[in-house]
Symmetry: C3
Subunit: 447 residues, 3 copies
Amino acid sequence: MKQEQAQIEELFDRLFPICRSISGPGVRETLRILQDYIPLTVEGVPTGEQVHDWVIPKEWRIREAWIKDEFGNEIVNFRDSNLHVLNYSTAVDRKLTLEEMRPHLYSLPHLPGAIPYVTSYYTPRWGFCLPHSQLEKLNQGHYHVYIDSEHIEGELNYGHLILPGENKTEILITSYICHPSMANNELSGPIVAAFLYNRIKKWKSRRFTYRFVLAPETIGSIAYLSRYGAEMKKYLHAGFVLTCMGGQGSLSYKNSRHEIADVDLLAQHMFKEGRIEGRIRHFNPISGSDERQYGSPGYSLPVGQMTRMLDPGYEGYHNSLDTKEKMGIESLLRSVDEMEDILRALELDGFYINNNPYGEVKLDRHGLYPDMNHTPRIGHSDNTTIDQRTRLNAILMMLNYTDGQHTMRNIADRCRVNILDLAPIIELLLEKKLIAGPYTEKRGLFD
Amino acid sequence: MKQEQAQIEELFDRLFPICRSISGPGVRETLRILQDYIPLTVEGVPTGEQVHDWVIPKEWRIREAWIKDEFGNEIVNFRDSNLHVLNYSTAVDRKLTLEEMRPHLYSLPHLPGAIPYVTSYYTPRWGFCLPHSQLEKLNQGHYHVYIDSEHIEGELNYGHLILPGENKTEILITSYICHPSMANNELSGPIVAAFLYNRIKKWKSRRFTYRFVLAPETIGSIAYLSRYGAEMKKYLHAGFVLTCMGGQGSLSYKNSRHEIADVDLLAQHMFKEGRIEGRIRHFNPISGSDERQYGSPGYSLPVGQMTRMLDPGYEGYHNSLDTKEKMGIESLLRSVDEMEDILRALELDGFYINNNPYGEVKLDRHGLYPDMNHTPRIGHSDNTTIDQRTRLNAILMMLNYTDGQHTMRNIADRCRVNILDLAPIIELLLEKKLIAGPYTEKRGLFD
Amino acid sequence: MKQEQAQIEELFDRLFPICRSISGPGVRETLRILQDYIPLTVEGVPTGEQVHDWVIPKEWRIREAWIKDEFGNEIVNFRDSNLHVLNYSTAVDRKLTLEEMRPHLYSLPHLPGAIPYVTSYYTPRWGFCLPHSQLEKLNQGHYHVYIDSEHIEGELNYGHLILPGENKTEILITSYICHPSMANNELSGPIVAAFLYNRIKKWKSRRFTYRFVLAPETIGSIAYLSRYGAEMKKYLHAGFVLTCMGGQGSLSYKNSRHEIADVDLLAQHMFKEGRIEGRIRHFNPISGSDERQYGSPGYSLPVGQMTRMLDPGYEGYHNSLDTKEKMGIESLLRSVDEMEDILRALELDGFYINNNPYGEVKLDRHGLYPDMNHTPRIGHSDNTTIDQRTRLNAILMMLNYTDGQHTMRNIADRCRVNILDLAPIIELLLEKKLIAGPYTEKRGLFD
């Protein structure tokens, strides 16, 4: 655990300084480092390629960027923070008055100490971002603005990986890799995805195939869908866009577009049955992350969004206050733990079949029942006995409702327990061949 | 507007004095006057024709009706109010004592100044209606009762009109024309229908075909259905029985028999989203108007009933207190306005298709989006910006849910706005060929 | 009524002393006595036969059982109460110290005066049951324990009966006959079933076929299902397991596994509309009676459980306090009455067809309506008139919703009356050929 947390921090520290954008060397370097933790295949879509309603833009390369005053004093320098330059900025090398430069400077009046994160991908613009407190102190006079950047024919990159399971039905784990030096609203997602991969890989068995996708937000997932969307439409059972997985709060899940897909109902179950603290939000196509693309009407995939520290709910949203300290490395570990629980629950969920569906199963014959009906009144302090009763009740519930029409989550709901609490009983009943499953689709008892 | 209100009053004043019944010259004269405002085709069903479980009765003609006391003083005279005679009364010319005459006199003890409206269509009877205060003052003695009426082989008349639209799917607007001199519970319906016709006629385009039907209540709509019901069953999408459209209150809509037909859900939407003040009632086949016929089990058409001043909820119900003043001419204009809004909303409602359903539409490419992500914190007093945000959100909602499975009303509900608020955006997206529709039936994205 | 109650008591007194078990002479004697009241056919399933996941055990025969102290004093004797011996006990004839005997003695510390009812069907054991107060007073020393019992190749018996109706669709009435001398939690069920049979037999007509089954609990119903389950799966429309039908409380119905089968919704309707006091419980496969077998996933029959005095809710549960006095003979008569009402309601429920579905039926033509529209304001004290109005409304409701899609229970719900209140109107409309039905399945108006 301690070791895993140290590894998480190491990965974080390697990724943080990189100047990412929707394309370019920063994205490739990010993917390369991630490959030390998760064996992603990296692919590229060339500039100019049409991906659905979008066109892959040119790659952005940036080498240097600064403002100097007329005395040659550096006001801001890209070296200090890659947030200082408008992301995807065109090149500039001019001398201007403060008034002329002013429209190209971005700051946050309500957070005077923060450098904002601003982008202009689809309209050519140059600009700098700086703390409002600094902006307000700028003297009249002339300034030299210098950005050494270029936009070249290149490609847009993403990394992905298929971890095969017992069947082809897929679970998607995805996040984005396009924000520059920000912690919660950038690195938390890919890092949790990478460490989650390492957990899943070690499971004894895997019912589902897991698809990991790390791509630039919006244009990246649209490009990915234009290549793999038809395949995902065929196989995808559930998916999670991971974003802002740090912070102190509890999880918050935004439903897939379906609102009642299995993944949505499972998330609801996990939070309701108290295994994991969290809450559910409705889907909307307005704000959020790539669930908007996976949930566009042509795909309408069952992909929700999981977050801990909600988008505009924290000060560091899209600015330099989004630091490792605010995010918290231990929060990422907690996110890995909780996401693993959710995925394990998803593995258990599904439709099961009782192999002896006529009349009750004779439990004692299968070593599942006390052999005499004498139950003297039991005090509620006798916890062992109560647990035995709960266990027996759960067995009876499971044998009655494993009819191919109720998922294990439905059964857990009837038992008022979390589906993970049923795991040992499911294993036992499967082992004794009393039930068969899980199946992803409803089925009749004798299909 | 002023002019329209004056026209409404003019029509009202021409129609009010006529002695209507379920058949006869009064109905024909009413239809003839209405034809000056709406080009109805008038048809007749002959006496004795079987219409479903009913038979068209004889036509009633009345010329004179009075009661005189033994001194020749007129007690009541049909000339003063056509409510004084029992509607459809047989002829009589007899001298009777007060006791003998008493069972033939109708009054309202709880409204001693009102002349009640009483009918006896299917059992031959003679009778007079008078204020209870007058009845109580009648002296003992002899009276001469005289009604010069006859029941002849004739026909039952109704007027109807088809205003064609882009497709054959129909909207029904109907009311009744069988009550004598009453304002709210007679003339408000046909008048609102006539002026609504003139509004719809002027629309730039019309998706639906509009069917206007003005017929005597119950027997008239049953006769109409026996002729046109099969056609309506094929084409009717929504309908409104207009009744009691005057008064100060807000609208009240009685659901069609389906309770969840599109017309019902639209009415609910219009009232919920505050565009129009109103409330929803459940369907019942017990009280109300011709929605009971359109909603009989064999037809089960999606026809609701719209009213403003509810039936037994006002003093003037079925008596001489139902006057122009109580009703209010300006209330009819308000009803025309609100019904026009409802019909415009119905035109917009329906299923739409996003023509670029894979991934988000790239809004800036279509001139629909700010081209940079920098949104400085916006104070809620800055209404313009908020509206822009609402508009952008609505566009994103519309592009996501125009999947052939959600109606525009569903989308408006998700946006928490009225469907009419979306009208300019719908027009814009249609114009830019980003969406197609509206379709009346659900469809797949590529049908 | 008085006579019926006397007959009930007579039957009770004949059945009470018998030492029943899951098989053996006690069960056969019980069935033979019941045959004097209900002409059951008795069948047997031989020892060793596999019935689903179970095997029919040997028959138990017991002749004598006692404990004597070292002075020859009888401590307990089977003659005094057949609860004194562990039900299905193996034979024993040994002299033991108190310590050696102690593990074979069962008592209820929280009810020191009661002899518990304990069984050990599937593990060979010997044992005695006695009041805890008596157990505590036993002196140290030697005891002679003697049980003259044997387990032989025999059969398991049940009794059943088919009472044919107009169609083959079946209603099941069942209870169990395996508990020894207990009143509420044994005899109340079979006795109510027997007297219910005699009520149903006398009905003028019977839409459904009634199946009566009296069998040992669990193993008996599983054996019965293994023979007749396939047939029941084909024909069964509704069923009731009767258990604990005595006591002062109101009825309590445990839903079938479907939770929304017709029988469940009807029970809900009967209780909601206040005809019968009662409440609804959810289904569970954990506690209860043979509804667990009928509701096993392979059968999943629409069989609920009806009870009055709930299982562990009374002191007499599974012990000698379960006496005739605690149960109350008059409670059984009340149960027969209420169950008869429920079955009559079930007979009336179903889908009906309006034979004149186009437009309203002309009620006066069929003698169903006042022939004039004058309804002077009616005081609510005038009950007759109110009832006429309620009746007229019910007729209109029934004619509108007898469309083959709504059951009569649905219509009664809309009328806010109990379905039995509609019985005279249903009869009238059927007689006038205005409606046809009841049908057990939904149908179109012209099927």
